[in-house]
Structures are given as C-alpha cells and as structure tokens.
C-alpha cells in the first residue's frame, strides 16, 4: 500500500492506495502523525483506491482521528469503496468516521 500527501490549502489530503491491513496500518499512522506534526490540522483520507480495509486498518484510522483532534483539528474520510463501507457499517464506526462522497466535500461546510 502507498500513501501520498497533498496540501490542498485548507486541508491535507492523504491518498491511500491498496489494502489497509495490519501491514500498512502503521504506515498510515506515521503518515498522519507527520502531517499533523508539520502543522496540518484538517486531514482527509482519500479511500478511492483503497480496495480493502480490515479491523487493523480501521483501528489505524481511529488512532489518526484521535491525533488530529488532540491537535485541535479533525480527520475525515472520503470516497470509501463497498468493502470499506461494509466494515464501517458493521462496526458502527460510520457514526464516527462518516464517509464523504468526495474529498472536496469533507471540510466544505466548516
């Protein structure tokens, strides 16, 4: 899995490409930690190319959410595919990490 970071002005986009599982979850954590450490407060994780997420990946997203909130910001997710939506819904984590249809919409109303 690969992560890329893009500065979008009012938010930082983290693009997650591949499988978000126990192998890649620590890299997501460190990627978001670095972005927040560098001053990013509003993070959008773009899941358009994330074709799989398990509970380790979900745990990493929740950890990243905590990091962003502790820094006074927030983390949101966008473009979740069917399998990712299934995991979010079964665990009720869609209440905490509500997926936005597009990256642009995630912080559009703040």
């Amino acid at each position: 899995m690969q992560f890329t970071i893009e500065d979008r002005g009012t938010y930082t986009e983290v693009v997650a490409n591949g499988r978000l599982n126990m192998v890649s979850a620590p890299t997501l954590r460190s990627t978001v930690d670095e972005a927040v450490g560098a001053g990013s407060r509003h993070i959008v994780v773009n899941l358009a190319s994330t074709d799989f997420m398990d509970s380790s990946g979900l745990g990493a997203l929740i950890g990243c959410l905590k990091v962003a909130r502790q820094a006074g910001g927030d983390l949101r997710i966008a473009c979740a595919q069917k399998q990712v939506q299934m995991v979010l819904e079964l665990t009720n984590m869609n209440r905490v990490l509500a997926p936005y249809a597009t990256v642009e919409e995630a912080f559009a109303r703040d």
């Binding site: 126990m22 745990g59 950890g63």
Partner: protein
Amino acid sequence: MTDRDSQRRFEAEAVPAAINDLHDELDRFWSDLDDVPFEDQMAFTTAVIEAASNVVEHGVPLDRGGVRLGVELSASATRLQARVLEINAAAHPDPLTPATGDPEELESGRGLFLINALVTTVTVERQGNTNVWVLSKESAPRR
C-alpha cells in the same frame, strides 16, 4: 446446479507479510469461481483475513520454531469454508471472546466481532499443536 469445486492451501511463517500473500491467494481462489456473488466474496475475504491476522498478532509459539499460518480454502455448491491453522502455537483459553470497552475508543479488538458478523458459523478447536479456526459461509450461486 453449480459445478463449484475449488480448493486452495496456503502456509507461511506467521508474520505480517504473510497477510498480503494470503490476500493474493484469496484473489486467485475467487478467480477459480465465477458464480460466487461479490458480496459473499467480500465478506468471506474479510473474515479470513481477520482470522489470519489474529493468528499473526496473538499466536504464541510452543518452541523456537515459531508459529506458522496455514489456510485451507474450499467451495462447494452452497458453502464457502476456510480452515485457518495456527500451527505450533499455544492453546487460547477463550479464543472467541471479543474485546470489551467503548467501541468508539477501541483501536483494536474488532476482528472477532467482524468474523462473527460476516460468516454463518465460526468454531475454534485444538488439534495436536494447532488451533484450528473453521469459518463457514452459506453462499448460493449468483443467478
């Protein structure tokens, strides 16, 4: 009547990299089967990866040889089954008890919950030096 009759076996050292290799094996398993609904593939793959990740994360070796992860996948006319083997591992006292706590705060412990939600039956039994997880999912052929 469907002609489903597919079997695959995977075995590797129980380390994180094995999870990606297992996922590739699952992709090949589905490529052998053209009548399993996508939703069933998605649910079963997620459950198998969760069980295998549990072996990698929590398996305690019986000796210096380390824990090995084995997975046997099979499909019959109406059922998908995975036997996830935790080889050369200590027995788990209560393997199917999920984590407790505020679900919105937990960063781990959702794996067992997901497995139970995604398959029809799940059992764990001890066979010799191996813990055997058996995951079964009813799956009617796609029309």
